[in-house]
Symmetry: C2
Subunit: 130 residues, 2 copies
DNA sequence: GGTTATATTGACGTTAACGTTAATAGATTC
DNA sequence: GAATCTATTAACGTTAACGTCAATATAACC
């Protein structure tokens, strides 16, 4: 039974789909974000690799460094049978979440100010129309 | 009548208060983010300069480049008497706002996943306690 | 079987955002 | 008035995140 999970991608297929270069993908591998299988010398990416890469790109859009993104991705690699590992994971997850909530506040503040400027624009344009 | 608006800062005062280096502040000036008065050769910052710098730091926390931050700060420098300038400003403000809303979605998604991981942690820890 | 397409590693180049001296000058302190 | 503090400009150094060749190998096409 062929599942969607069995699909495989070449490096340029992934690069095209996700709007990045093959160079960047290899660079991310150097930095420990990915670890695809090989077929001979060639890299081959599975569904999980692709998911990790997408998560990485989201991290980039949010302004995180590749080091931070690797830390983030590592949160999904923890052995959930070992209690000490889970406890460590928990505190790191909570730290990251707190950081993201601060970032949400920054974002909200920035948006609020932009909306003020927008309203001001509309006002002035209304005035000149009269 | 002395207003809070008349207060002035030296470069190292600002740097200390905002948790950055004087080098960074001068660098931001090179990039056109600031333009403080001078007293002799020395820079002197007023309330507005300080506000701009704070906005810049918020932009940094959100992952924007100094170029993007300058564009953003320039939105506050528009002559609101000239209709064409207002119209141009309006579209740029709306573009920026749209970008921030996409970023909000990314943030929300990331937080949601972290909260899932957190819940999973709690579950596993509960199990081992029994 | 020669060209074209796609892959690899390796190495050097580039841009952003500062850090880090260095050399200099005015202000303050002892 | 010698030393210390704070400021300046200028210049070179550094790290991250890739871009851009170059040399090479395999696969696919005609």
């Amino acid at each position: 039974m062929p599942s969607t999970q069995n699909k495989l991608w070449t490096i340029s297929e992934l690069a095209n789909e996700l709007g990045m270069t093959t160079r960047a993908i290899r660079f991310y591998e150097d930095k420990g974000l990915l670890n695809p299988q090989r077929v001979g010398p060639n890299r081959v990416y599975n569904y999980q690799d692709r998911a990790r890469l997408k998560l990485a790109l989201r991290g980039k859009r949010l302004g995180f460094s590749l080091d931070e993104i690797r830390e983030f991705l590592d949160l999904y690699q923890v052995d959930m049978t070992k209690v000490t590992q889970i406890q460590f994971l928990l505190t790191r997850v909570q730290d990251k979440a707190a950081q993201l909530r601060r970032q949400q506040e920054d974002l909200a503040a920035m948006l609020k100010e932009l909306e003020l400027v927008e309203a001001e624009c509309h006002q002035h344009l209304q005035h000149t129309k009269l």
